[in-house]
Assembly symmetry: D2
Homo-oligomer: 350 residues x 4
């Protein structure tokens, strides 16, 4: 940690702070300069936070040397984490494709969707049972009933399943009925929820908050891992910027950056990341190309009848065509396009 003193700070101020640093068991450094005195404190920056040096009236600013996340950092674990959902190994050489409707509407709807996404190449079925909606007057999801439908359809098709958890009280049900738990963007800093999923061993897909920095996103992942659950996947789903032509701004820089700094797998969501159906395909390809480990894409057997996010859902035809187009990009990225049939076959064979 670097501590920059104000121009008029005295030597006594510097000493006082250096003593505090030393008393905390850290290595103090003194760098008197012409215009400013700069101090250093080397060691575990988590301890340093407790010193509250930024409250000192003669401290102008404090600059951390190290990122605050540890367990999710490649500096601690250099190898890629692989999260196993059942069929799907996210973060492996297998490129992971998750598809399905925004909301679970009925068993018939979900089963039909599951069948065509499986046929097109997806190995994970997505779908919301609990929908966090900006307006209290919008459809809020089927709840536990939706979870049971998802479980049923997962059994029938053999696909892995994932759904969003919005309330701790539903954690047991979500964990029982699905392969993986999604934490949505609005709850990325709902620390009670993060700790609750951290106490399970269920795979978690953590979506980036609308205006969360990459550092905050990795710290939210750190909450889950530090609580005890290492099976975390990060999801880039677009951030909020000044641009209004698209619903969000898909930040693929973040994907490349996180792949460099963290060992956790990264999934790209081009559906929410654009909010525009015609932009899903190009941005899915870009997600593959920048190094993502997988994609999560909204599709609906009939987008015109979707009860939510209809403007961004792909039709069965669009989804199938996109999967075909993705193949050469997946291969160019050094990954494999593996279908549920391949994996189920391999399982039966072994």
């Amino acid at each position: 940690m670097i501590i920059i003193l104000k121009a008029n700070a005295s030597e006594a101020d510097a000493k006082e702070i250096l003593n505090k640093i030393e008393a905390a068991g850290l290595q103090p450094l003194h760098m008197p300069g012409v215009e400013r005195t700069v101090l250093g404190a080397l060691g575990d920056e988590r301890v340093l936070q407790g010193l509250n040096l930024d409250s000192h009236p003669q401290v102008e600013s404090i600059k951390p040397v190290l990122s605050q996340y540890k367990l999710v950092s490649r500096e601690i674990y250099p190898q890629d984490t692989v999260v196993n959902l059942g069929l799907t190994s996210v973060g492996s050489s297998q490129f992971a494709i998750m598809g399905g409707p925004c909301a679970i509407e009925s068993e018939e709807q979900l089963l039909e969707t599951a069948k065509y996404v499986k046929k097109a190449g997806a190995t994970v079925l997505r779908g919301g049972a609990f929908k966090p909606r900006t307006s209290p007057y919008s459809f809020q999801g089927l709840g536990v009933e939706g979870l049971k439908i998802m479980h049923q359809v997962g059994q029938e098709t053999g696909l892995d399943t994932i759904t969003e958890l919005v309330d701790i009280k539903d954690l047991d049900d979500v964990a029982r009925y699905t392969s993986a738990i999604q934490i949505g963007a609005r709850n990325m800093q709902n620390y009670s929820l993060l700790k609750a999923v951290g106490e399970t061993q269920k795979p978690v897909l953590l979506k980036r908050g609308l205006s969360a920095t990459i550092e905050e996103l990795l710290l939210a992942a750190e909450y889950i891992v530090a609580t005890g659950n290492p099976h975390v996947m990060i999801c880039e789903r677009g951030i909020r910027t000044f641009e209004t032509a698209t619903r969000n701004t898909l930040d693929l820089n973040a994907v490349a950056y996180i792949k460099e700094k963290s060992h956790l797998p990264v999934i790209v969501d081009p559906s929410h990341g654009t909010g525009v159906r015609s932009l899903v395909a190009p941005m899915a390809k870009a997600g593959v190309a920048c190094g993502a480990d997988g994609l999560i894409i909204e599709c609906h057997r009939n987008p015109r009848e979707s009860v939510s996010d209809a403007a961004q859902a792909l039709s069965p035809g669009d989804f199938t065509e996109l999967m075909q187009q993705l193949k050469p990009f997946i291969i160019a990225s050094g990954r494999q396009f593996v279908t549920a049939y391949d994996l189920q076959g391999a399982r039966y064979a072994s």
Copy 2:
């Protein structure tokens, strides 16, 4: 709702959509133009959402005519809502001042702080028992023990009290021990939490999310009011922008805008809104001047020892001086600067 069709939409497309609108009991409008056909649907836009017209492949864009919030709008209730905390009437002619530490650290610390903020002019004591922290390694608050300390100090000084709720499981304790519940910025769209406080009749201070639009903020308030609790105060506490010189960008435009559109009282938080101690005073004055109903300000008996947010906490001397400086601005704004002593005296007198 205005529906703009794509350039190549046919008359049959327009008819199909107009029929949908009519079937939903709304008034359809047809506006064929040279370059585009525009359709209209007049009536309750909450019903219109269910039509999912944005999923139609020939719909280019949809523009709402009305805001989605109803109950918090001045169009429904033109008069100012006054939220009563006990001593303090937020939204009345009394300008409300809330002061106290970021975190409750001990009874001694809170009592000492309470005494000086009361003496300086505050009528509400703030302080966190549950602290949502970006890093899992930061101090997370004293929990229920902190609530009991706050209750004790509130009793002893006669001040109203407010603290943040982060987990539904603590709702009963927070409601029992304090005068008002704060929903923090990170939880502004934690709809389970909003509904839970909506089921009480406790006053709620709803803080704007870091990147929430004003529309989303008012819709979050609508969640609480629609669930049954009309005692809602809005808090502007700075938004996230590209600027890094200050911790957040205090959006006072939003204060003036919300005062125009909504009947709910608005509180300004210049401490989080700037994150810089020396900027708290000028922005507190600006908050008064733009029409806020009150201020919430972090202060600490010794900012150097504060366990969190030390860089923005005022010292007792700074806080007292600021209160004196605020008086002419409060009066210029047509409000009254009323102390706890005035109010307690009035109560005893009556």
Copy 3:
């Protein structure tokens, strides 16, 4: 300047960089830590930039200790700069009020407007002759003809005048016909233009770019001052954020921050800062309260007929009423509300 090396940097890397620092005549510092080696370079950071240390493959990040602006900083010149426009002394105890239409439309229009803004309390007449417009199909201004009208009206009313310069070729005309030159937000980093006005001694109002940081804004002012013109006023006119309810987000934090760091006067533009007529008055008051040295406000004799920015222009009645409401805020801020009549009287008397 603090240089943080990558985790795997060797001692030789550190030495190589320390040698570079020393060779540039600066003081090198070596801080080997457990997880990272940190280096320091003390001295004039403008020299340090030339070292390009951020290009070294073993350098993780570089953190400047000092801001890059010098001449506009209070560390160099602690006293407030006062910019004299003729009648108006911006940055003095006199609170400066600039009013007028977005665009100069005719002599009759400008004269009528000038008369009522003068009567209401303004001492500077604003109005655009060259209009930078987002669309090539919008009205682009009367050009030099407009400048002559402004000169004429300035003579007739005795008001100071200010207009925007968008092209170096018009500099001589703008300097000849008006009291002060405005550099608009879109040209804040048009360095050719900054240098050109820096070569004059004309007062300059430099508007903040839509997404310029405060540091960049002060560096743009530094361009003008470093070229030779110290008569610079800064203008906060709203930044671009995700919020769409208002046209821009008026960043009053920036006003308070710049007043602390720089000796240059700061003007607030609540018209562009909100883009909404009904929000101009509350934000003008907030601008006064946070410590601005003046306001620049758009008004039009008949806003319904304004050729541009009509949605934010005040009517004569609104403008006059606002001036009356501002008085107690100006006095509470320790400034004086001085009219053109007062100043002209004082001039005649002396």
Copy 4:
């Protein structure tokens, strides 16, 4: 254009506005609703702007139906525009690669760089002779001397050349010495400059402003085309957001969106779009995958010695490796990877 009236607007207000619309030769529409009256005006929205309907006190908001850009829109010209630089046809089946240093430092430096970017696969040499720098104390470029060097190197290698123009006075020199003119991000709304290049027939690469919306970017292109120069390439180079881990946020959504709405070719700049050397390669691939027509990449024979933007420049080895890695992505995107040797050979052969 859709005009939404305030809740308390009278029928007379509606009539007044409808009459204005009709008088302007447009088709008026009247949609009285329960909570609001909505009006429409169909026809050329450029004419509608002149009506200033947003200044009417009973108008709540105005929503445009059509985008303001015309000439750059696919609705007017559905086919892709191809911009010919000499060797390079940007927007054709040939994927265009532009490489070179941030700044031209010497003939030796530029020639060496030109040789290796040509060998690696680039057909356009980039390099700055005039550098717009945030700080007045940074290196500002070699000026016309740099242009001559670029011309010389272009002749010697046969590569097309591109450099930034920052001041109208240098337009003739830039046009004489290079194949294409770059308009930088800071000057995207310097309309004098846009009109000046619009009066030439030189190819122009228009970079997106740091916080320009896509609509504003296309309107800036419209300025150039409307003035008379159709040879415009758009460049996405990252926008300014709250994220600080990367220098800018590369907005690839914008690339896909612009390719859909406009016929102009789009180039991606992953160097400025990330500001981090290690992220250039993944984002270059992503740029190809989302449908860009080309890339512009900073490289330097020895990044450690680069006088500017050193942190993002690729070394010769990195650049060459990246070109190899790009090939399968270019082919998967349906484009061809064509070198300068191929093109020169084809020319000689024909």
